[in-house]
């Protein structure tokens, strides 16, 4: 499945990447000719083998499995896996729980993307000035990003529990049933948790993007008499739009692949699958209930879904690019 993609993008390997400095093109193009071509192949062979065993074979295996009736067997046992055509795909696409999990990706995106863009752009703009304690703030925002999800989910489940701090502070305003067992609020809490955990990464991303917005644009905006808000909207926001595309694409990938959060924070995607993600369903159906063929088909559908959404997101910003230029 991955092979056509690889051969199409083959050329990119020879082009030196922009951030790699000026030297590589010289050393790669002319200079020394390969004297012992086998040595390079020897050096990369463990890594190439690793990619084959851990990526190529499993990907091919999933596609194969999704078209067959497949059962778990003991190691060594040989059981037939008959071809069933699209039967697994029909099962996947008509399963209400699967459809609910795809709806949940939508809920996740609607909360995560605007919140991430708004908060990280605000914090990055505030950080992009000479201020005391800058490195302290950067560290504080980045800390959740490097910390284990399981540890942070533990704290959040405690904070948002029925007798947790959040409900105690809210008093009579606390939702009933409480956050994590409430079918309307469970998915939003998962989305807010993921936003919080990953925000530091995006603050740094926007901070890097802000450095590349030309200073003259701010000067000419000031000459035109634009206020602070208008400058922000007409100079800053368009200037960092590539970072915004990345936020959207990464949010699509993250939202489709949540596992730890719904599994632990909302007790297995509960209540009644209101916070289930496709990957959680993949685990429950494929491994817990031993229907690996169903899960394989779900995996393929999920990949196609993510690739399609990402392409749409990219196309959308490219169109805006042309309009802007």
């Amino acid at each position: 499945m991955s092979l056509p993609l690889i051969s199409r993008s083959q050329g990119s390997g020879h082009r030196p990447r922009p951030q790699s400095g000026g030297h590589p093109s010289r050393s790669q193009g002319g200079g020394h000719r390969p004297r012992r071509p086998s040595l390079g192949a020897l050096f990369v062979s463990p890594y190439a083998l690793f990619l084959l065993v851990v990526f190529a074979v499993p990907l091919g295996y999933t596609v194969w499995m999704s078209f067959h009736r497949f059962y778990f067997t003991a190691p060594g046992a040989d059981v037939d896996a008959p071809w069933v055509g699209l039967a697994n795909y029909v099962d996947v696409l008509t399963d209400p729980v699967v459809l609910r999990s795809f709806l949940n990706i939508g809920i996740f995106l609607v909360i995560n993307v605007p919140l991430t863009v708004l908060l990280s752009l605000t914090l990055a703009s505030a950080l992009n000035a000479k201020l005391p304690l800058r490195s302290f703030f950067r560290a504080a925002y980045y800390l959740p990003y490097v910390t284990a999800s399981v540890a942070l989910v533990a704290v959040w489940s405690f904070l948002f529990g029925t007798d947790g701090l959040v409900n105690k502070l809210l008093g009579d305003l606390a939702p009933d049933p409480s956050w994590l067992v409430n079918s309307t609020l469970a998915m939003p809490v998962v989305a807010v948790f993921v936003t919080w955990k990953g925000l530091g990464f995006f603050v740094m991303l926007y901070l890097a993007a802000l450095q590349s917005v030309p200073g003259e644009l701010y000067e000419s905006a000031a000459v035109d008499g634009a206020g602070r808000v208008r400058t922000f909207l007409t100079v800053t926001v368009p200037g960092v739009r590539h970072a915004t595309t990345l936020v959207t694409v990464l949010a699509i990938i993250t939202g489709s692949n949540l596992f730890t959060e719904p599994y632990l924070l909302t007790g297995g995607g509960g209540p009644d699958h209101a916070s289930a993600s496709p990957v959680l369903i993949l685990y429950q159906k494929g491994i817990e209930q031993a229907h690996p063929d169903f899960a394989a088909a779900l995996g393929v559908v999920l990949v196609l879904f993510v690739v399609t959404l990402s392409l749409i997101a990219r196309r959308f910003t490219e169109k805006n690019d042309k309009k802007g230029a």
């Binding site: 851990v54 990907l59 190691p75 490097v146 399981v150 533990a154 602070r228």
Partner: protein
């Protein structure tokens, strides 16, 4: 960038940043504070440990419930195995991709970029069938390490670093008759120390924090890394201790501590690479 503009809105910026810092740091403070409380109340005040009501009972309780020592050793072996493979095999691959010629180099580099966009979750099911069912590697360190063995982001990082080194250095060593392994060991690696450090840090947090894969592979509690055994405590074993919330917070502190300490020590190395690899993607 615009320091002059910055001075006018300084107080507002500082206020926003401070508010942000509270939101990000409070859960950490709360986690640590509650882990030291004899009885967790869930109140705001319990974020700050006070003499009299605090102690290390929760750490003892979680240690009895999930045997912290064994879990930490398992986490350590898992992480060290991945680090070792990445630092040996990944550096070799990065060096060859940057400095040596061989057939299929372009294809391999394209694959390296491609696999970084494939989320691990999608490979979970076929890998589970292969590793646990077909190869019988369930409840083994090898099975845990295999899918993470060579960190592709680190290979990419090593390649970029070797590419940036002046080619004259390598020419000179070759003229002097040094073999490629010798050049790698004597010339390239000593110069690549910063990249090796960054690669080590970024490879470390992956397996240390990982939950899904070791959770699938290890059913035997004595083989589970800390992230898995703590999650098991969270979903099944709460009833076995007197103060479940406190014990959970204590376990969370132990799990979080190594990555947090490494991050605080080497902050710049973390943020820099992740941004580079993020922009690339």
């Amino acid at each position: 960038m615009n320091p002059s503009r910055g001075s006018a809105r300084r107080p507002l910026s500082l206020l926003v940043l401070l508010l942000g810092a509270v939101v990000f740091l409070f859960p950490f403070l709360y986690m640590f504070g509650e882990s030291l409380q004899k009885a967790t109340t869930g109140d705001l005040g319990s974020a700050i440990p006070r003499p009299g009501t605090s102690g290390t009972q929760n750490y003892e309780a979680i240690n009895t419930a999930i045997s912290l020592g064994t879990s930490l050793i398992n986490s350590g072996i898992f992480t060290m195995g991945v680090l070792l493979c990445t630092l040996v095999l990944g550096v070799l691959a990065g060096y060859a991709l940057a400095r040596l010629h061989f057939r299929g180099r372009g294809t391999l580099f394209a694959s390296l970029l491609l696999v970084q966009t494939v989320p691990f979750q999608l490979l979970m099911l076929p890998l589970y069938v292969l590793v646990v069912r077909d190869y019988g590697l369930g409840d083994s360190y090898l099975g845990m390490i295999l899918p993470f063995a060579i960190n592709s982001t680190a290979v990419f990082l090593f390649r970029q670093f070797f590419l940036q080194m002046p080619p004259e250095l390598f020419e000179q060593a070759r003229i002097d008759g040094a073999g490629e392994l010798r050049i790698l060991w004597r010339v390239a690696i000593p110069m690549a120390r910063p990249a090796l450090l960054t690669g080590t840090l970024l490879t470390f947090i992956g397996p240390w924090n990982e939950f899904l894969w070791p959770f699938l592979v290890t059913k035997d509690a004595s083989m589970q890394p800390l992230a898995v055994s703590l999650a098991g405590f969270m979903s099944n074993l709460r009833g076995t201790v007197e103060n479940p919330a406190g014990a959970l917070m204590a376990g969370a502190c132990v799990l979080a501590a190594p990555a947090v300490v490494l991050f605080l020590l080497f902050q710049r190395h973390f943020t820099q690479t992740n941004i580079d690899s993020g922009i690339k993607g």
